[in-house]
């Protein structure tokens, strides 16, 4: 099922949580909503589910306007961060609940419900635990039951709110791979919320990066990482270094020196230069490059991170060096970013 979010705005007691957000989700896609706390990602997910109503705008399931439908009729599978399993019901009753509460002819016979529950338990690899109560399960098992319960109603779209947030690192990684497998097997259109970029980039077909109630960028993991389109995405996803620069006659300058990067299409004036610390070219001499004094250096696994002080204003940037690079304290290092992007400097608050 395709899901289309069209110009949706959501205010809570006049406080805007989402500003005019639009998003197209293709049928069968696995999408991550990624952003820091307060970015509106959970609000967007709850709006799609129908747990909240938009202040403005429309949400379409296929061609149907879903915003007019009650949550009960929307037929979405929602997996809550803390599972929200029914404590007084067995695992099988939890999974069968959505079928049991249907009315009249829509309700399958008890036997069919039981069969379906154990089928789903097989799918989530918990066969044989039908009779257990949630209290008797581990965190990872509860999460699987919650997913099975959501899938039992054959939802049009599967929504997961921080699905692995409450689990420890090991179980998290395991379930992540497993969720991808299940998705590929069942083909549900799936949207999940996370603040963990690794999780989003690894798992999702497309990642929606959100900040302060707006969508910053939508794209595949490669697009998001390699061509971030805003200072926020640059600094939120992966590591980045940022330097204030000047653009003049299609060249990038730091103070009075050209650093050998040409930007023919950039507007002249102050700008911010973003690049990845590991994506730099080290140079020997320095004409047309960035040079700085090593202020601090630390060993990070297979590489060495150095903090450089650049120019008279002692701007600090991070650059990654090979372990065997002879950079010592106070020694000078010259480099030029391989891949970089300029953003106009006059966007206060956006680049943090």
């Amino acid at each position: 099922m395709e899901v289309r979010v069209a110009n949706v705005r959501k205010e809570f007691e006049r406080f805007p949580a989402l500003h005019d957000v639009s998003l197209d989700i293709k049928s069968g896609e696995l999408i991550a909503l990624l952003g820091p706390s307060g970015s509106g990602k959970t609000t967007l997910l709850r709006l799609i589910a129908g747990l909240e109503r938009p202040t403005k705008g429309t949400i379409f399931f296929g061609d149907e306007d879903a915003s007019q439908k009650s949550i009960q009729d929307r037929n979405v599978g929602f997996v809550f961060q803390h599972y929200a399993l029914f404590r007084h019901m067995t695992v099988a009753d939890n999974i069968g609940f959505g079928l049991k509460v249907r009315h009249g002819a829509a309700r399958p016979p008890a036997q069919e419900i039981r069969r379906r529950a154990s089928e789903l338990l097989d799918l989530v690899q918990l066969s044989g635990l039908e009779k257990r109560y949630p209290a008797q399960l581990s965190g990872g098992q509860r999460q699987r039951v919650a997913l099975a319960r959501a899938m039992a109603i054959e939802p049009k779209v599967l929504l997961l709110d921080e699905p692995f947030g409450a689990l420890d690192a090991q179980v998290r990684r395991e379930l992540r791979r497993w969720l991808r497998e299940i998705h590929d097997r069942t083909g549900h259109t799936t949207v999940f919320v996370t603040h963990d970029q690794e999780e989003a980039l690894e798992l999702a077909d497309r990642v929606v990066v959100m900040s302060q109630g707006r969508i910053e960028q939508v794209g595949s993991a490669d697009e998001i990482y390699d061509t971030p389109n805003s200072p926020f995405v640059y600094s939120f996803i992966g590591e980045s270094s940022c330097l204030p620069v000047k653009v003049e006659s299609g060249e990038v300058w730091i103070a009075d020196r050209s650093i050998g990067l040409s930007a023919p299409h950039a507007a002249s004036g102050d700008a911010l230069l973003y690049f990845r610390p590991h994506d730099v070219e080290l140079l020997d001499g320095c004409s047309g490059c960035i040079a700085g004094t090593v202020a601090a250096s630390r060993r990070v696994a297979g590489t060495r991170r150095v903090e450089l002080e650049i120019g008279g204003e002692r701007q600090r940037v991070e650059v990654e060096l090979p372990v065997d690079h002879p950079a010592a304290q106070k020694s000078r290092v010259a480099f030029r970013p391989r891949r970089w992007k300029l953003f106009p400097a006059s966007e206060p608050g956006k680049a943090s």
């Binding site: 809570f12 007691e13 307060g38 990602k41 959970t42 747990l51 909240e52 109503r53 949550i71 921080e162």
Partner: protein
């Protein structure tokens, strides 16, 4: 906990979607039922007390309160509360200290024992003292031989009151002190404070609002206790009549104004207690133990 973004943005109940609240008509019916129930069972009895007390005018009211029997009943009630509340205060702190600060065998049993008066009929609470100190009682003959009067006298009333009110302070303090843990006390001790200093400067400030809350409830019950006191008092006018007992006597004599006049004082005490209790809960809710009621 939930993602902080849900928490800080989460709308309050009234603006929530149909998923987690009832439809408007159902809400209105539920509220109407609740209010009607509370009005009939709580509000009207309270109103009737003041209405009946003033039924014959303010003159009759103040006259009823001025009678010497009424005044001595008030004095006795104050005296009984003045003895039994401090006793139970000391006991409550002491029991809470032992139970909350230490791990020892039989702790659960001790806690159950403290709760006992809540599950015993007040009449039985009085009865046990009659069986102990009465003329046919275990100690009755001995007491009589030595001229000690407990039953049908102030000591008996105090004992019965202590019995029914002693859980209040302890029950309030035990969960509070358990929740606060031993960290503060251990810090004070490590800084060189002795046991008493630790209690005065560290523990007591931590528990003072909970303590006040317990004392408040304890006092309300001590001044209002009827059944237990009734059994041990002997109902001697002007001597062993507390205010609640005096209410009964006046009522049975068909002196409605008198009975309700004294009752209105007790109802006033109840209202003051409720107001103070609510203020304490509002301002120091976090510093009062989670267990409410009784």
């Amino acid at each position: 906990m939930a993602d902080p973004e849900i928490k800080s943005y989460e709308p309050h109940h009234e603006s929530q979607s149909a998923a987690v609240t009832e439809s408007r008509p159902v809400r209105i019916v539920a509220m109407a039922v609740a209010f009607a129930f509370l009005a009939i069972f709580l509000l009207m009895p309270l109103i009737v007390v003041f209405h009946e007390a003033l039924a014959k005018g303010i003159g009759a009211y103040s006259e009823a309160l001025a009678s010497s029997d009424t005044r001595s009943a008030i004095r006795l009630t104050l005296l009984v509360a003045a003895i039994s509340v401090p006793l139970n205060l000391v006991f409550g702190i002491s029991a809470a200290w032992a139970i909350a600060k230490f791990e020892f065998k039989g702790k659960a049993f001790l806690t159950t024992l403290i709760d006992l008066p809540f599950s015993v009929s007040p009449v039985i609470s009085g009865l046990v003292y009659v069986l102990l100190f009465g003329a046919q009682g275990v100690l009755g003959a001995w007491l009589k031989a030595h001229g000690v009067v407990i039953l049908f006298a102030v000591p008996g009333i105090v004992l019965a009151t202590v019995f029914v009110t002693f859980p209040f302070v302890a029950r309030e303090l035990i969960p509070l002190m358990q929740e606060q843990g031993n960290g503060d006390e251990e810090a004070a001790l490590s800084l060189g404070a002795n046991g008493w200093q630790t209690f005065w400067y560290v523990t007591l400030p931590n528990i003072k609002w909970g303590l006040l809350y317990g004392v408040l409830l304890c006092n309300a019950r001590a001044m209002g206790e009827f059944g237990a006191v009734s059994v041990v008092s002997g109902h001697i006018r002007g001597l062993t009549n507390t205010m609640p007992l005096h209410v009964e006597i006046l009522y049975n004599e068909y002196n409605a104004v008198g009975a309700f006049a004294v009752a209105s004082l007790l109802a006033g005490l109840a209202l003051v207690t409720l107001v103070l209790k609510t203020l304490l809960e509002m301002r120091y809710g976090a510093e009062i133990a989670a267990t409410r009621g009784h």
